[in-house]
């Protein structure tokens, strides 16, 4: 089974932790603690007859913690940028988060734009059309979810699984496995998997 790192980012209290909690525990807690630094959770999903283990890095949205994020983006197969559809500012910040991603990875990563809190439809400030436009401009995938009701959360992770597998197959065809045993610690790349696979054989886990 292959592991894939996914990095969640976006302004504070847009619902990153809540989306992940809905996915992992199928639960919603309006009073979930604010994320300090980074949280880690993982879950295995089955997509297209394959099981995929997702490593979810839930980063803190507040400005003080932004310096931590690049190192998590660096090692991710996919980045999810979350904003709150009832908060224009969080939508505007997408640009900032995109820059963070591009500085680390260029265009070499799948990006998902997620508008959360569709349960607060009557307080909506960002229309689906705007999200669509923003996503198409950059070739990103997009979806609207509600962690509170669970709307589209499963679909989000299904789509994540599908696109990760697709990308992985492409890569395997493009890059012939080159075994490099001296990978430095801060340069873990999970999406190009030959190294990782070899390590797993050695350690005998999974």
């Amino acid at each position: 089974m292959e592991n894939f790192k996914i990095c969640f980012m976006g302004d504070q209290s847009v619902g990153k932790t809540s989306i992940i909690n809905r996915f992992i525990y199928d639960d919603f807690n309006i009073n979930s603690q604010s994320t300090v630094g980074v949280d880690f959770l993982s879950k295995t999903i089955f997509v297209e007859n394959e099981s995929v283990r997702l490593h979810l890095w839930d980063t803190a949205g507040q400005e003080r913690f932004r310096c931590l994020i690049p190192s998590y983006v660096r090692n991710s197969s996919l980045v999810v940028i979350v904003f709150d559809i009832t908060n224009k500012t969080s939508f505007k910040s997408i640009e900032f988060w995109m820059d963070t991603v591009q500085n680390e990875r260029g265009d070499d990563v799948i990006v998902f734009l997620v508008g959360n809190k569709t349960d607060l439809e009557d307080e909506r400030q960002v229309s689906l059309e705007k999200l669509e436009k923003e996503a198409n401009k950059n070739g990103f995938l997009y979806l609207e979810t509600s962690a509170k009701t669970g709307h589209n959360v499963k679909q989000l992770f299904r789509k994540i699984g599908i696109s990760i597998l697709k990308q992985n197959k492409k890569r395997k065809e493009l890059i012939k496995p080159e075994l490099d045993e001296n990978t430095s610690l801060m340069n873990i790349s999970l999406n190009i998997d030959p190294n990782k696979l070899k390590q797993k054989e050695e350690s005998g886990c999974c």
């Binding site: 504070q12 630094g37 350690s203 999974c206």
Partner: protein, 573 residues
Amino acid sequence: MSENLLNRRLNLFKLAVETETDLDLIRAISFHGIPEKGNYRPIIWKLLLNYLPPKRKDWESELRKNREFYWKFKKEVIKPSLIETFQLMYYSESSYCFEEDEDVEKMKKEMDTQEFEKEKKDRQLLFEVYKDVARTRTGMYFFRAHENNEGYEQEKESFRKKKSLQRSTSSKQKQKKKKKKKKKEKIKKIKNKNNEEKKEGEKKIQKQNIINDEEKNEKDQEKNKKLKENETETETETETKKDKEKEKEKGESEKEKKENEKEIEKETEKEIEKETEKEKETETETETKKEKEKEKEKEKEKEKEIEKETEKEKVIEKEKKKENENENENKKEKEKEKEKEKEKEKEKEKEKEKEKEKEKVISKEKDQKNTKKIPNRVLNLCELLYLYAKFNPGIGYVQGMNEILATIYYIFATDKSEEKKNVEPDSFFCFNNIMCEISNFFCMGIDNTSEGINASMTKIDLTLKEIDRDLWKYLRKLQILPHYFCFRWVSLLFSQEFTMPDLVRLWDTLLSDPNRFQFVTYVSVAMIICVKDQIIDSEYSAALSLLQNYPKLISIDEILFKAIDISTKLKKK
């Protein structure tokens, strides 16, 4: 702990605190935990955090000075308008948005841009703080923001409904304004034409046209009002059944507001018409030029009384009407009939107004009752964090501070002595002092220096390597660094990792550490070692999840025992 031993320890605390405060002795004995019995913890924490001076005789004056400063500072920084905003946040939950705050429009007009931006930042800061306070230690009844407030759910619902109504009506109001503007422009154009045509001697015909136009306008306005009222009614109908009644009340009150405005306009117009007609009568009786002049003067005085320019213009128009009406007496009679009808309407409207006023008084009383319901500690925690951010603008508010403050506040608020009533100023200064020592963890700029949080986490890595090489090797093989899970441990002094009783016990030790907060490193390493068996059995994601969500079953005593063990081992080396 046997009773005998406990009594001996209590005696030690009594000796250390009450007879002659000896900080070294206090550190030594509270390092192993402060007993619940005897209520020593609040006072010892205050001593350890350098809030109370070491000499007992200085306590009173120092406390008085600090507390006075706090209340003064608070009064200066937290203005009544901010508390009003806080109430809005409390009831609107996560959906508070500065742009929709009721008095934003007013503030925009009254303040210059700099002031306005400052106010905006302040309110956003308060909201940021509030959101985190509302979700601090929600497992404890003490900290719950809403559960112990009866009727919170009801208020929250009605608040949200109010907001969505405001939004829909504000868009309608904009439309109305546009319509009104257009009408005014039309009227002005017509008036201008009239003035020109007067000179040409074609007055009479044109004036009749104006009257017709005006009548049409008035009719149109009435139609519009009716339409708008219908719109709001349909809106309320579409909303959920449960809250129908409430919404209707609110919808009505807003409709009434609109009607109020319209009524005022109508009334002023009608008053003007009345006056002008009285004048007409006198005109018909005497018809002398002098009297006309006098009347004109009177009219001018009346115009001054009515300040609005548009209304003045209307008066002038109506004067013109009189002349026409003298010629066409039939029209007069018709208008008189209309006026009678209008007067009847006015009376009805007045009755309505009285009812509205009564409702307003009732709703105000309701508001006052609700503000009393906001739990004091929720407001206090928000105020304290807000004040800290204002007191230390370089650091501001960082998420997680709420957890640190909550611990201190909890200890002082559950003080069994008289000091409990000073929980606010005492928490403020103690929080401030503790933050002084760990503020490096809260500054992005210091992160990568030798004093920053990255250095602390590297130190944990190195200490683990020295104490338990096998475990360190295994974590390295999994490619798990302390940086992935220790950030929160170190920066928040473990306040998100443990339950309150365990955390308080841990803090007894951390605060008593003479080389504060070196012990944080040892505790972190001890925590990793305490789950060694589980880590060795798991792969990457399980191991990291374990460390990220530290198991609650591991007792704090076990961790502290290990941590002390580590510190003595390192000292020997």
